[in-house]
């Protein structure tokens, strides 16, 4: 039982991170129909930026964290501005191929500067952050990641529900022509989706880096997990992305704990296939409202 709870907590906190980074992916897809194949590399960029700031520049952790978030935000904005915007109006497949190219560029740059070895952050989480429930011990990093995950989730929920910019973003995702006719700055919305997606990806990159250490290949592969997550949750549902993330996270840790660590990456996909056979639009894919 203790083992089960331990796995449950680990799975939930990892899953929350998957869900959050998938949320960025879904935001880009919803507003501009672009599948971003460079998502994993955005995670890696965040993780390495944090590494540079903490170890090489020696900044305090909270400052490094904030600067990484800001830096990732700017990176996402710049990517949209420099690479995506000139392609507006072109066929979608070009844009998607462009993201594949961007993935290679980012990965190449990171490999060039940091090599393919495993890097680790200095130990910075206070040991007191760990929580002891009877025989179950939750390590500090999982407590921290759950906390960050939930905070971000609530913030984004409020942002999309109540802020004008959030409502504009949803309106563009809903009906682009109508949004244009009302003067919504659609290009600004695209840029903002990229910026937010990159920021959340960078944040997930840091936390995953704290958990597993950072390695270019591994982190960008984790980024690719957004695909099973979003397909499971439904490509166009932000809530679905979060829940899909949690399901994948739980599946992974339970497989790892009860069956075998080597099956960790296989079982989620197997379950994915089964779910898609029953619900082809994903668990929470939008069922078109047909009423016009």
């Amino acid at each position: 039982m203790d083992f089960f709870i331990q796995l449950l907590v680990n799975g939930l906190s990892i899953g929350l991170l998957y869900g959050l980074s998938a949320m960025g992916f879904v935001m880009i897809f919803k507003s501009s129909s672009v599948l971003n194949f460079a998502h994993g590399e955005l995670l890696a960029m965040g993780a390495f930026l944090f590494l540079v700031l903490t170890t090489w520049a020696g900044l305090p952790v909270y400052l490094a964290f904030l600067i990484t978030l800001a830096g990732s935000f700017v990176l996402g904005f710049a990517v949209e501005r420099l690479f995506l915007r000139p392609l507006i109006g072109e066929s979608l497949i070009f844009v998607i191929m462009l993201t594949v190219g961007l993935a290679s560029i980012f990965k190449g740059l990171l490999l060039f500067f940091f090599g393919g070895n495993l890097h680790t952050y200095p130990e910075f989480l206070p040991a007191g952050l760990g929580v002891q429930f009877g025989n179950v011990f939750i390590p500090p990093v999982y407590v921290a990641s759950s906390f960050i995950g939930i905070v971000f989730l609530v913030l984004f929920g409020l942002f999309f529900k109540f802020s004008p910019q959030g409502i504009f973003m949803r309106s563009v995702a809903d009906n682009q022509t109508a949004a244009l006719s009302l003067g919504v700055h659609v290009k600004k919305v695209f840029a903002l989706s990229w910026a937010i997606a990159a920021m959340v990806a960078g944040m997930s990159g840091i936390v995953l880096g704290v958990i597993n250490g950072i390695n270019v290949h591994e982190i960008s592969a984790i980024g690719l997990k957004v695909f099973p997550v979003v397909i499971l949750g439904g490509l166009d549902s932000i809530g679905g992305a979060i829940i899909g993330g949690i399901i994948i996270g739980l599946l992974e840790t339970f497989t790892c704990g009860y069956i075998s660590p080597s099956l960790r990456d296989v079982v989620p996909y197997a379950v994915l296939v089964c779910i898609l056979l029953i619900k082809p639009y994903g668990l929470f894919g939008l069922v078109e409202i047909e009423r016009v």
Partner: protein
């Protein structure tokens, strides 16, 4: 009513519109709209009415269309081929054909999007103003637009446009697919908006009868050209308009298109 001498607000000067560099839809359309008036644009399907509106509002661009010739000026500024973001901020808002709500947003969120051109300013008063024109929306304000009826949606999209305080409102077939009573209600409200908000309105309609009742002035389009224009009252009396758009034949009885000799139309209108 008809003798407002307010000067020209919007002027289309001999514009041509081409889609995808090859398909010419408008072939030299000129029209002018005076301030605070309702101008109606009539014509059969494919005549170029919607394209004319999109040329004004800048929404041709996403459809790969372009004003290739002529000029459009609004309140003294040249606006042809400007982006919709710029044009909406000058005060021209188009209500698209076929009601295009944001289906997954609530009615009230839909209305809030209408403030996009001026989103830093408070909008509470505007919400009240819209609910005053369209009381039917109040009790639906928390429900998703996707589940509302056609009449409610038409009110919603017009209310959403009003939130932007438009100086020129372009309405594309507001009566499309609505029950006669609802149509009458909508037209009454259009008239009220024009009178109370002093909004200039261009009204594209198939329902020529209704449109000419509330409009001050009218244009008739055919094949990408303006073929007739005049005060709404005189258009209503015009035998050709009666025959083709109001469905009343010369002898006062309805006639089918089959009875009309095509050369007659060509001779009179070109």
């Amino acid at each position: 009513m008809t003798e407002h001498g307010n000067g020209i607000f919007l002027q289309l000067n001999n514009i041509s519109v081409v889609y995808s560099d090859v398909i010419q839809v408008l072939k030299g359309v000129s029209l002018s709209v005076e301030k605070h008036r309702i101008v109606s644009l009539l014509g059969s399907n494919g005549a170029g009415k919607t394209t004319t509106l999109k040329a004004i509002s800048g929404l041709l661009k996403p459809e790969n269309g372009k004003v290739t010739d002529g000029s459009i000026s609004f309140d003294g500024a040249v606006i042809q081929n400007s982006s919709p973001e710029e044009i909406t901020r000058k005060g021209i808002i188009q209500v698209l054909e076929g009601r295009q709500p944001f289906k997954y947003l609530t009615i009230e969120e839909n209305l809030k999007v209408g403030t996009a051109t001026r989103w830093t300013r408070p909008y509470k008063k505007d919400l009240d103003m819209v609910y005053d024109y369209f009381p039917a929306l109040i009790k639906r304000r928390k429900s998703l637009a996707g589940y509302c009826s056609g009449g409610e949606l038409q009110m919603l999209v017009m209310g959403r446009a009003l939130m932007a305080h438009p100086r020129l409102l372009l309405l594309d077939e507001p009566s499309l697919g609505l029950a006669p009573l609802v149509v009458r209600e909508i037209f009454r409200i259009i008239r009220r908006i024009n009178e109370e908000q002093e909004t200039t309105i261009i009204l594209v309609e198939q329902n020529a009868n209704m449109a000419l009742q509330i409009a001050h002035y009218g244009y008739v389009m055919e094949n990408g050209k303006i073929v007739m224009e005049g005060e709404a009252r005189s258009l209503r009396e015009n035998p050709d308009v009666k025959e083709f758009y109001l469905g009343v034949g010369a002898g006062g009885k309805t006639r089918t298109y089959k009875d009309i000799k095509s050369y007659r139309r060509r001779k009179r209108w070109l």
